[in-house]
Amino acid sequence: MPDKETREQKVFRLSRRKALKSLAAAAGALALPGKDASASFWESFFQKNFRELRKDELQKILARMEREYSAQYGKPVKVKATPPREGVQYGYALDLSRCIGCRRCVYGCVKENNQSRDPQIHWIRVLQLNKEKGVDLEEAEQYYNPAKVPEPGHFYMPVQCHMCKNPPCTKVCPVQATWTESDGLVVVDYNWCIGCRYCMAACPYGARHFNWKKPGLPAAELNPDTHILGNRPRPVGVVEKCTFCIQRTRENPGRYPACVEACPVGARKFGNLLDPDSEIRYIIENKRVFILKEDLNTQPKFFYFYAT
């Protein structure tokens, strides 16, 4: 069921609500000692799946998160839940003939999306490939470290979530903690994910990352402009991934993802696939475009192309 439908109709099973209520009551009893301190713990413990929240429930949750994050990081933190826009399908294109492998996109993304600095989590991985061998992942090197890029004889291929139209990752999730929004963004509910990592095994692009440890995010480096399904600080033990900067791209007017802005050579293009006049449509229609692992039928909305 598309998420919009669920959200608007508030489809919701009564028995479930009742069960949740009695669970909450039981939890209340458990929480007796130190009532105040644990209140928000239980609130988040019993939080429903994002897609089943009523408007008022969502508002309450956003307020609670803002309160908690602000206290924790010592500065005002905004948590938005900007919904998808009508008539938009986000698409991404990456010019392989331009990318120089400098990895500014990687660090731009880390900064924008509050990824853990210790241990480091990178939503974008840049592969160094051999010009002679072409796109042969077995020959790919992610940990190249020369004094200067690009290195002769090599080209670079950044990989991040491909926002598959037929995503194997959401299909396998046993609790529907991850799904595709109506604008094509594949998102994770960090409060619902149980951390089984089945989605990681299913993703053909290595786009999903697990919080093996409590994310190390220094307060000074926190980007306080966050989205509940995007770059808000993540808890330990859950999976996270690129969201095409949901907190930026869903704004009105929408902003480019951080990686697009960070790229010094303009190799990254982003736009609305449904808009016939958009740059991304021009690229798809006029350039030599290819899809990574096309044979897997994941139907990505992330395209590689050669402009020259």
């Binding site: 592969l127 992942l137 994910c193 951390g195 053909p204 290595g206 440890k213 808890p235």
Partner: protein
């Protein structure tokens, strides 16, 4: 109600009594369980970072053990078939022992999954109606359903049979027979679903081979019965239960066929990958030869291969099959061989090299070992407790008294020393 309560009290009395050997065994298990629990508490506090798993190899030792044990659980019950076919005399005993082994293995499986997930306190998200079980889309959801059904099914069968025998009446056949027969497809299904869990991932060529589910079943048919053979010998040596040699040899014969099938299917897969030599060969190369200088799995898989082939030969030749020394060696070899092959040898090459060609050499940390040992100890503990009650019932040493309410306990020691084993 009163009768059930008295029965329950009787079982409690039983598990607290036994010979010195029994106490030592149980105490040892409890210590290992405590060590495992402590390691798990540490893991909960620090996060899964204390394991050697990382984004590249996101499943490891825990899920390997899980996969292997699903096979053991399935096979234990599948033994019921030969028991029926060969008219194994104490059929009910064999069935009950198998069902109980399945119960213990299932408990271990569920524990392995629990210790593997990042947010175990959110298990309720998996409960239909309260949480959201992504059924029938997610194979993991299927697994949750079939594993729990299987656990309950076996528990019901075992308890029902035992409770009736305790009351000195034949268990109602029209209740047990359908359930036992149903447990056969259920056993096949738990293993098939677990195979499909891996099988359905297009991103992982090593798992994405249609031969995987049959291979799972074939290898389970080796490891489960091998364990049962050893178990039968222990049980008949140290308790009053009688199990005929002939029966054990039949099981061994069955293992020989299964091992043949297992090796044959493996050969078919190796042929396909090596001869066609596509990019999908990489994981298999990583497993059997090492890839780009990474060869941590190679010694293990060859150990497994040698063990499996040796055991196959031992079980094939009637002379070695019917000699208890070689038979037991074969059982041990098979158990270890399949443990490696269907554990780490299956899970890790699926994940390394990873989808972007990176090879991360995974090998479990001390914490992972401790937690794993703790879970194995828990499984053995559960099985011991089940046997502690079941064996006296099967022997007639634990039954209801004249009044139909108070239990009579004739067997105090549980593990008895037979005259011949004293010298």
């Amino acid at each position: 109600m009163k009768m059930i309560w008295e029965f329950f009290k009787g079982t409690l009395v039983l598990v607290f009594r036994g010979s010195k050997a029994y106490y030592a065994w149980v105490l040892g298990l409890l210590l290992l369980m405590a060590a495992g629990a402590a390691a798990y508490v540490y893991q909960i506090q620090a996060g899964l970072i204390v394991t050697a798993m990382r984004d590249q190899v996101s499943w490891g030792f825990y899920i390997s053990n899980f996969t292997f044990l699903v096979g053991v659980a399935a096979a234990a019950v599948l033994l019921v078939i030969p028991a029926y076919v060969y008219h194994w005399k104490p059929i009910k005993e064999i069935a009950v022992l198998g069902e109980m082994l399945a119960v213990s293995a299932m408990v271990m499986c569920l524990l392995f999954v629990t210790v593997d997930i990042g947010r175990p306190e959110r298990f309720w998200h998996l409960i239909p109606k309260i949480g959201i079980l992504n059924f029938p889309q997610s194979l993991l959801a299927w697994d949750v359903v079939v594993l729990n059904t299987y656990l309950v099914l076996n528990l019901v069968i075992a308890v029902f049979i035992l409770y009736n025998l305790y009351h000195r009446r034949e268990p109602n056949k029209s209740f047990t027979t359908p359930l036992i027969l149903f447990s056969i497809p259920a056993a096949v299904s738990i293993h098939t679903v677990t195979a499909f869990l891996y099988n359905g991932l297009g991103a992982r060529p090593f798992w994405n081979a249609s031969i995987l589910a049959p291979r799972f079943l074939a290898s389970a048919f080796c490891s489960g019965p091998a364990f049962m053979i050893m178990l039968f010998q222990v049980i008949r040596k140290y308790t009053k239960t009688e199990i005929k040699d002939e029966a054990i040899f039949k099981v061994a014969e069955l293992i020989a066929y299964s091992m043949f099938l297992n090796l044959f299917l493996l050969g078919a897969e190796v042929f396909k990958e090596y001869y066609s030599d596509t990019i999908h060969l990489a994981p298999m190369k990583y497993l059997f030869q090492g890839l780009h200088g990474h060869s941590s799995l190679v010694p293990y898989i060859w150990t497994a291969m040698i063990f499996n082939v040796t055991a196959f030969i031992l079980f094939l030749i009637p002379k070695t099959r019917e000699n208890f020394v070689t038979l037991n060696i074969g059982c041990v070899l098979i158990f270890i061989g399949v443990y490696i092959e269907k554990g780490m040898g299956l899970v890790i090459p699926g994940l390394a090299p990873d989808v972007l060609g990176e090879i991360y050499d995974y090998s479990p940390t001390g914490i992972e070992f401790l937690v794993t040992i703790g879970i194995w100890a828990t499984g053995l503990f559960v099985y011991t407790m089940l046997l502690r009650v079941a064996i006296p019932i099967l022997n007639g040493d634990f039954h209801v008294g004249e009044d139909g309410v108070t239990p009579v306990i004739a067997d105090q020691m549980f593990i008895l020393q037979r005259p011949e084993s004293r010298g």
